[in-house]
Structures are given as structure tokens and as C-alpha cells.
């Protein structure tokens, strides 16, 4: 049965080539480079993009590896809910300085994560921990849940803290904390 089908379907094969071209297109990484794209700051404080003959009045920037490789594989996407990908920047270093700066501004705000410089106090009570810290953005206080994985170990020394509202804080190197601070943090690491 199946052999007959195989031979007697030239129509299907045609369809296949046509479809494959479409699928192959999806399956390839579409790189945005210095040569084929033009990013611009909009007057409204966003970024527009001209790419492959199309003009996007506003685009969103996503990091593919926000922790391990923040400057590479920047996914440029549509700003709507579906967030379809327009293309990928392999590395910010491959762009010219000004463009890289424009993208970085957007990334900085999207991935806003204050760095904790000093732990003033951590109080744990009834399943919640109340942090009082000094960050690179100034002093702040936030609350985390104790039971779930609010404190994520990105590496041996690097820690990400997510508070009850999803706000993020980072300690880039816990070995730089003082012994007293480490003691306070000990519960979480």
C-alpha cells in the first residue's frame, strides 16, 4: 500500500517544496547586523527599527541569556502581546557605538535590577522576610516569601532575589559582603 502512495503523489511533493521554503525560513536565526538594520530613538523615548525593508515604529528588546550573556543574543520583538520576533542581535559589540547605546538604554529599563551593596537588616517572620538594604539606586526595603524559591543562586557567588511583587534585586558577588551581612543572608543561601 504505502509504496504505491509514495510513487503516485507528485502533487504532494510540489506542495512540500513550497511549504519547506516557508518552514526553513522560520527555522533559521534571523540576525540583525550593523549592515542590514537601522535603530533610532523615537521622540517618545522608544526605539524604532528599519529592517529588511520594513519599518517598525516601536520595538521591544529581550535578552535571551539575561544572566549568563546579557550583551549577546538580543531578541528584537514586536511590542504587542504576541511579541513576534523580528530578529536577533548576535552581540551588542558588533553594532556601532551609538546603536548599542540605544539598545542598552532599553535593556537597562526592561531588566531593571538594583544591585544590593549592603544589607542593613533582614527580619524573618511568619514565612516572609523583610529586607532593608542599600542598593546602587539608593536605600530600599522589600519583602520576599520564604517558602518558594525567592532567592535564586545564579552561580556560586551570584544571587538573584525576587520579592512578592516580582521586583528583582541582585547580589553580584556574595563573597564581597561582610561577615555580618553574610550571617544575615545565611538563611537563604
Amino acid at each position: 500500500m504505502s509504496t504505491i502512495h509514495c510513487q503516485s503523489k507528485p502533487k504532494g511533493t510540489e506542495a512540500k517544496t513550497e511549504q519547506s521554503a516557508y518552514t526553513d525560513d522560520i527555522l533559521k536565526i534571523k540576525y540583525i547586523t550593523k549592515g542590514n538594520a537601522k535603530f533610532k530613538r523615537t521622540p517618545g523615548g522608544f526605539v524604532s527599527l528599519e529592517f529588511e525593508g520594513k519599518f517598525y515604529s516601536r520595538v521591544s528588546v529581550y535578552r535571551a541569556f539575561p544572566f549568563t550573556n546579557p550583551d549577546s543574543f538580543i531578541s528584537i520583538r514586536q511590542p504587542d502581546e504576541k511579541a513576534e520576533e523580528i530578529g536577533i542581535i548576535r552581540s551588542l559589540n558588533e553594532l556601532d557605538k551609538e546603536t548599542a547605546e540605544i539598545i542598552r538604554e532599553q535593556l537597562n529599563i526592561r531588566y531593571f535590577t538594583p544591585e544590593i551593596k549592603k544589607i542593613i537588616d533582614i527580619k524573618d517572620e511568619y514565612g516572609y522576610a523583610y529586607f532593608d538594604v542599600l542598593t546602587d539606586r539608593g536605600a530600599c526595603r522589600f519583602t520576599i516569601r520564604m517558602n518558594t524559591s525567592s532567592v535564586i543562586r545564579l552561580s556560586e557567588t551570584r544571587i538573584l532575589i525576587v520579592d512578592i511583587d516580582g521586583n528583582r534585586f541582585e547580589i553580584p558577588d556574595i563573597t564581597k559582603l561582610s561577615a555580618a551581612e553574610l550571617k544575615k543572608l545565611d538563611l537563604f543561601i
Binding site: 504505502s2 539608593g138 511583587d165 521586583n167
Partner: protein, 781 residues
Amino acid sequence: MVLDTTNTVNLPKNLIEQLEGYGISADSIFISALADMNLDCQYEPCYIIVCKDKLVMALGTTKKRETHIYGKHRDSSKLFQSYQWAVKIFDLNKYDSLDIQPLISGGVLFGVKDENPVSLVAFSGSQMGDFRRLVNVYNKLAKNEELTDEDLKPEDDDIFCPKCGAIYPDRARKICPKCMDRRSVFFRMLAYFKPYTGKIVVMMLCYLGAAGLNLVWPYLNGTVLYDKVFGKNEEFLRFVGLPAGKFTVLLAAVVLSMVITKFIGQVLGIIQGVMTAKIVPDVVKTIKSQVFDSMGRLSINFFTSRQTGSLMTRVLDDANFITGFFIDGLPYFFINVLTIISTCTVLVMINWKLAIASLILLPLLTFVSYKLLPRLWHYYGKRHRASRSLYGQLNDNLTGARVVKAFGQEDREIKRFERYNSQMRDAELSLVGFDNRFYALYSAVQNIASFIVWGFGSIIVLYTGDLEVGMLISFAGYVTQLNGPLDFMSHIFRWWAESANSAQRIFEIIDSHPEVAERDNPVHMPEIKGKIKINNMTFGYEPNKPVLKNIDLEIKPGELLGIVGRSGAGKSTLVNLISRLYDPDEGDIYIDDVNIKDMSFKDLRRSVAMVSQETYIFMGTVAENIAYSNPDATPEQIVAAAIAASAHDFICKMPDGYDTIIGSSGRELSGGERQRISIARAILANPKILILDEATASVDTETERAIQRSLDRLVKGRTTISIAHRLSTLANADRLVVLDEGRITECGTHEELIKLEGTYYKLVQLQKEALTIRGISEEDI
């Protein structure tokens, strides 16, 4: 319509005054939100205010920057009282609409004018809800749409404890652990022990007896033994009524009474233990059954909004914990208070100077354990976490052994294991280290205390003669006896607070009302025809995030309706709503022209059966699992259902046939086998409305055909809704519905939809192409 705006204004006083100066009165303000960052990612408060006809932005500036507080705060308006406000006022037509660009947490508020977006401010994740509502209000006003009270209602009206102003740690729970009414929780909990009053009284008497004996013991082995017997006290002989000189008899009598004291103490301990053993399991069982019973009544939302793990903890651990507190903690508390008071009294009576000297260090001991015990627990917790991740890693590895081997990653896994293993070792080491230090310190203080007693006491014995040796031994015995109760007192309050929290959690489940509830006088519909009508229905799992939008659909009795669409399009949600696992946010669903909200649960559940993509097998035999929907089914019916579901063959091939134990601890079934058992279950339920949610997704094509054939027979005379990715499954469907992003985009017969050349056509083309590669003809689909 007069809108209630009283609750919406939460602005600093000086800002309100300033606004009034610009002619904006507080009650013309519809809504406001606090942007806590600026676009350069610096903390800077900026209030966005929407009034009847104005949009106001008030940027706060100050010389001295305050600590930034994440999360809402009841006094957030007071937080910025010392700020100066730079106010900008716009007309409402400044922007055609407002919108939010979401960030990883939080977002950027921007206005759109003539399709050009202009970013305004940024805010943290804590403010997202406020900004969503503000955007909604602004956009309605800009479009001249009518506002409702619903639009202006604060998202979480009461996220603060009204008493102390702290934010509730869990917004869904709305319970402030600090201020919760522990007394009412206490008395309610106490009610569980009421049936055991007799036993508890016996238990308390035992405790009291033991405490009394504890007072006697040091006296016997100290003062009586040394001073009266060894000290040959004739007066004492006369006192107990023995003839003079008979000290051997006295010694025997003292030893005997010491033995009796110990013996009674042991007996009391045993009785008390027996009583505890009788009461605790009973109470724990009662509480657990009550919790489980309430959980069964709750709607599915309760289970999805919480982690199953934490639910398990609640049912299992909380009940134990509380009962433990009530049986072990509470009686001990009274006994210990009594012991402390009586022992101290005795000490003072023996020798008040020595009493003061020896008691002076006791508070220090209590303080040491009060301060250090929590840290010790903390180390225990740490070791517990480390061992959990070690087990997790081990479990991961054993279950994924095939993948590890297939990719040749054994070495890396060993290294990974090594890491968790060392973490475990470190945790263990620091625990043991702290444990040692703790006990060293603790016993050091204890020893110093007893040195003081002995040293100071000896001086008194030697020089002043106020005290005899035996009395000193008794005294020292009493002082040692204080250690236990004081230690206990140091952590009883924490224990109490935690068990009150546990009790509160349990009551929360017992008291919670199901979101999807049966009406008081439900309509009974023993026999239904199977007509389904969905009327302009909107539903979302989270507010403002609709998964299904304005669904209108009518399904005729006996019709076979296929639903297709991308994953995440809302297909499963739609059928979940029809079986009333959730209630729609807007619109209604009717079965035979009766709103399903009015139908009795029993009739609804009997009329609608679902075979979903998640198959669940209960612990029990195959037969029991198939007959789950109808426990009275005869063996014949069970076999018939299994045959119809193509399950009969594989069941017969198992050594124990229909009596094979399956489920968590029983025989492992493959995905396809599980699915066929759940289909058999649905067939046996014999519902008028059958919902197949990817019911044949994990069986092979041949089996699917077999099941399909039996389903074909089964669907005759009943309404069937079938969701499938494999379009061939829907070959017999009378009508097809295409769902896309929560909307019905196409609806019609196979031919009609093909002619439309829309989404369905594309899907058919794609699957056809996939099949042609394998050499299967179009006609086979």
C-alpha cells in the same frame, strides 16, 4: 450616575492642597497611581492622576531622599509628605490613549497621540495593578465611555492589616500574623479537645502529680537523707514516729520512699503518655478529615492558585503541629509556671540569700536559649533544605538515567551530585558546629550557676551555719530542676505563635467558600437532551487577562463539535467552563436552556463527563478505576466499557486482569493505557454530554482508530465536544470551531472551512504535507 471616588484618593496632603490651588478638587479625582521610578531607572515618586477632565502628573522632588519602599503601603501618602511637587496638568485629549509597556517586573506608562507612543514614567512590579486600572479609566474617559464603580474600585481594597498597618504577607489570605485574633483561634481549637475532657483532666492530674513529686525528690535525697539520716537527727526520728537510735530503719524508710517517689513518677508518666496517645491521633484525624472534606467542596481554582505541595503540608503537618502544641505545649506551660513559682518559693524559704545568688544567672540562661535556639533551628532548616536538594538531584538523576546515559553525561552528573553532596556536608558541619557551641555555652552558664550555688552555699554552710549540707544538696537539686521549665518558657511563645498560624491556615480551608457554588434551590434535571448554548461569554484566570473573549456558540443535541486551535488558544478553558470547573466572568452557559449555574451539581456532573489530557489514575484496581463514576457498575458493564475503550485487551494480558492494582504505588501504566482507562471511565458514566480534551493524544494511530470507532458508537445520541490537534481525530465532526487568541474565528463544517481558506485550511494543509512526506494519501486523513 454618581461615582464613588472617596476611596480612590491616596495622595500626600500637600499635593492635594497644591492641586486645589490649581482648581482641581479632591473629589474630582477619579484615580491615581504612583510611579516609583523615572525613565532613567532612578527612584523618584511621580503621581499620575486622572480627573474628570484632566490628566495630572506630579513629580516629587526632595533634598533628602527617603528609603524606597517596595510594595504598597498604607501610609504611602505620608511617605512623601516632605516632598515638593512639580505639577503638570494636561487636558484629557493630550493622548488618544494610555498604555503600558511591560518590563520584566513593572512597566513603562506611555501615551499614544496620532499613533506615536510617548513614554511618560516607569514603575515597579508593585504598582502594576494600579496602573492597569488607571489606563483603563483614562481610555474609557478618552473614548467618552461611561465609567462604573467597578472601574474605580481599588484592586485590593484591603491589603493592609487595619490594626497595625502592615501589608498582609499573603494578599489572598488577608490575615495579619501579628494581629490575628489568636484568642478566638485558641478557643476554636480547644473545642476539638472537648470530647476528651475526662482524659485531659486525668492527664493534667498526672502532670500535677509529677510536678509535685519533683518538689519532693530533692528534699528527700538532700536534706532528709544527709541532714536527718546521716546527720542522725533524733528529733526527726521522733517526728516520723520511730524509736530513738533506729537510724537503719529510718534509712530503709527513706530509701523506700525515694523508690516509691520515683515509681509513682514513672507510673504517672506512663498514664499521661497513654492519655496523650489516645487523644492526639483522634484529634489529628478529626482535623484532617475536616480539612479534606472542605477541600473536596472547594472549586478547582483553589487548587490551581496554590501549590499542591503546600496544601499537603497544610493537611498533614498543620494538624499534627497544632495538636502537638495543645497536648504537649499547653499543659506543660501551666505545669512549668507552677513549677517555677513553687520551686522559687521553696528556694527562698530555704535560704533567701543563696536563692538570690543562684537565681541571678537563670535569666541569663533563659536569654541564651531564647536568643540561640532559633539560630539552631535555622541550621536545622538549612540542613533540611540541603538534603532536600540532594534528594531532588538524586531523584532527577535516577528518573532521567536514560537521558544521562544516552548523552554520555555520567561524569558531569557525578560532579553535580558532588556539589549538592558538599553543600549537604557543609550544612551538616555548620549545624554540628553550632550545636556544640550552643550546648557548650548553655552548659557553661548552667555550670557557673551551680558553681555559685555550691561555692556560695559551702561558705554559708561552713561559716554561718544557716544551712546544713543536705539542705544545700536539696537546694542545688531545686536549682537544676528550674532549667527545664525556663528553657521551655524561652520558646513557648514562638511555638504558640506558629501553631496559631497553623490553626489559622486550617480554619481558612475549613471556612472557605467555594467560588463555584451550587445554588440554594438548584434545578433538578434527571434527563437532559444535550443542547448547549454559550452566550457572549468572557473568562480569564486572572482579572484583566481574558483567555476567552465574547464567545457565542450553540451546540445542538447529539452534535459532534470539534474544536481546533493553537495551544493556548483557550480550548481546554472552554470545556472546563462547560463542565463548570470555573464560572464565566461575563455571559452565561445554558444546557437545555437552563443556566448551568442553576443546575444541581449532581445532575450536571452526571450529564457531563470529560476525558482530558491529564489522565488521573486513583490507587485501586483497574475495575475500581473504570467504575469510578459509577461504583455500582456490574462486571459486565465494566468489561463492556473497557472493550469500547480498547482497553480490554491490555487489561486481560496483565496477570491480575481487572483486579490489577494501579495508581501511585501499583503497576505502572503507559500514557496510552492510562488514557484508555479514563475513556472507559467516561463511557461507563454514560453522560449525555461527552467532552474529549485531547482524549486520544497519547495512543498510537491504530488504537486511536479503534477507540474512534467505539467513540463513534458512543457519541450517537449524545452531544460531544472534541478537542484535538490531530485533525484526523475530528473527521466525523458535524461542525468545527476554530479558536484563536480566545475568540471564535471560524465555525462551520469541514467543507465550509476549507472553502474559507482560513486558519483551518492552513492547518489541514500543514498536516497533509506532514503526512505526504510519510507517503500517506490525503484520503486517509
